[in-house]
Symmetry: C2
DNA sequence: TAAATTTTTGCAACCGGTTGCAAAAATATT
DNA sequence: AATATTTTTGCAACCGGTTGCAAAAATTTA
């Protein structure tokens, strides 16, 4: 059984309040008192119970880290940086895995039961209904890596500039000399896909000489990318594709190779994310780099700010990306 | 502000105990009472505060999920299955990311402050000192995916049978007709590497005609696999290598290809884990499959059992693996 | 040195729940 | 209908902390 404040108080011959105060910064305790208490606490191996404390302070330092992207290597990095980043500022991530069956209200309910101080939604394709549900139970929430859209204007978002990515991709393909290019996005109904699509199309408006086609993979997975590319390969294809993300890209490459064609000789491919795998020589994918560390640091800073000031005016923080050229596009 | 038991009691015109009892299964409440309370609770949107409850019940349903493998895609799947599996039985994962700088005592301390009911260490290469530290603060702990060794005989472990894997690998390589084979493990000082090494060597004892060599990658990463293979390539190599895991294998393949050689024509490679990526056509790695779902289900079941019976006698649960033949070994 | 001011301390109430116990209510037995 | 038994209920104490308030102690000022 863990040692409690009462036992420390007893051993140090002081009141429980005194013990409490020594472990609360900013509280008024004399040096002698503090010394006595610390001594007793160390001898007993005491540490204040944060959960009991939270009852009065109303702060658990628990942050719900919510995602449904547990199959995309990009998000492993996201979890890595979020967990260590949160730990560094004294917050603790309570991981929530939302599957398609999860009831949004249920999930929100659960997070409230655990009195999380805030929620970070780290997902590229979570239905807006989830954020709504969290919002309703009045938990501070930040959306990271997705979901910037008209109906989230009252939410805090930290994300990449998807439109800019779309533009950058189209410009790169055109610069490379491709005259017939394709957009093969992630799921059509998710906001990140829409943003990238808009940016892509925008550039094409001023390039009437370029032919373009559009399609979507069912999800941000290897299998979906492969499947969609196999479908495209049944008809004449574009010369190069900008894919929804890196795993979709790798799936597409696999499909292309399986039909005897090669990348980039026959068809060019570019992705988005710049996951570690994209840099592996066996993959060597040209892609757009997301400044993942910056996004996460910014999200955590914003969370700390919101915890201080819950009614903070919502803001969208957008981070620009940049192209990383590797070997899956060639000059025409 | 969340609605509390007091408000529900007031609205339902009953005592707080009555409300508490309706939300505690097994407690004695009449049907009428329960109905009244449920009605009030629903109208108010009440849910019991688990953290407050934990003060008296001594159960938070929080489970520390501890790992330092945040860079291996295999562990993304591990986190996926653990989080959803724990959720399914009403437990909540508190994710802890241990980096090399983390102080074991500090980490244990933190988990105790949050009164986690138990800890699952999901890691293939965590120094034993960590489990020791957790053990010392008296938190039930299970080691999953690693660390079975002499000094953990007083711990619960759920893992694959590493020795069997080593044997299986050696046998496969021999069966394929290779006569000069290599073991290129993960870090030498971690128990999983040792187990696999032992199994591998054991088979070779009864095959004096086979030449074998041994080396180790620095970590379970692409970069380490690549580096170690580049080193090996400076001298005459074996005909095929059994690598520490899949990412090491893929790094090794990359190294081999970068010197103009090819896999499996010039050098054969096999891994262990069977991560999703291994099945991607562009990788197509022959490997040993870990029954990850079974290990995780078993770990969770064991955790539930331990929570019921804290002094349960420690056990090691070992799961056999099986070979998945793909394209990185050929018949000699 | 006495009075005024500031700092430190403990008391007691509270945070949001649970639970042993005894009284009250409902049900069963005679 | 009276009594015995069982079930339901509320009281009050407790879980491990924090905190407003007033008294006590220490320090400053006159």
């Amino acid at each position: 059984m863990a040692v409690t404040i009462k036992e420390v108080a007893l051993r140090a011959q002081v009141s429980r309040s005194a013990v409490s105060r020594t472990f609360t910064d900013g509280a008024s305790v004399s040096t002698k008192m503090r010394k006595k208490v610390i001594k007793a606490a160390n001898e007993l191996g005491y540490a204040p119970n944060i959960l009991a404390r939270s009852l009065t302070t109303r702060r658990t330092k628990l942050i719900g880290l919510v995602s449904n992207n547990f199959d995309n290597p990009f998000f492993l990095k996201v979890f890595d940086l979020f967990t260590s980043g949160l730990q560094d500022v004294g917050l603790r991530p309570l991981l929530v895995n939302l599957t398609s069956e999860t009831d949004p209200a249920q999930a929100a309910h659960m997070l409230r039961q655990y009195s999380v101080d805030g929620v970070i939604v780290a997902s590229s394709e979570l239905p807006a209904i989830f954020s709504k549900a969290f919002k309703e139970v009045n938990i501070p929430i930040i959306e990271s890596f997705g979901m910037i859209s008209e109906d989230t204007s009252d939410m805090h978002c930290v994300s990449i500039d998807n439109k800019q990515c779309g533009r950058m991709a189209a410009r790169l393909l055109i610069k490379k000399g491709y005259t017939n290019i394709g957009f093969m996005g992630g799921p059509e109904n998710v906001s990140v896909s829409r943003g990238r699509f808009e940016g892509f199309k925008e550039v094409l408006k001023s390039h009437p000489e370029i032919q373009a086609s559009y399609s979507y993979a069912e999800s941000h997975t290897f299998a979906a990318g492969r499947k969609e590319m196999l479908r495209l390969l049944k008809s004449p294809t574009a010369q190069a594709y900008y894919c929804g993300d890196d795993v979709i890209s790798i799936g597409a490459i696999s499909a292309i190779q399986s039909t005897g064609l090669s990348v980039p000789e026959d068809i060019g491919i570019m992705g988005l994310d710049d996951i570690e795998i994209a840099g592996w020589e066996n993959i060597n994918l040209t892609t757009i780099h997301q400044p993942i560390q910056q996004i996460i640091s910014s999200t955590i800073e914003l969370m700390e700010a919101i915890l201080e000031e819950p009614d903070r005016y919502p803001e969208n923080r957008l981070f620009p990306c940049y192209v990383v050229e590797r070997g899956t596009l060639k000059n025409q």
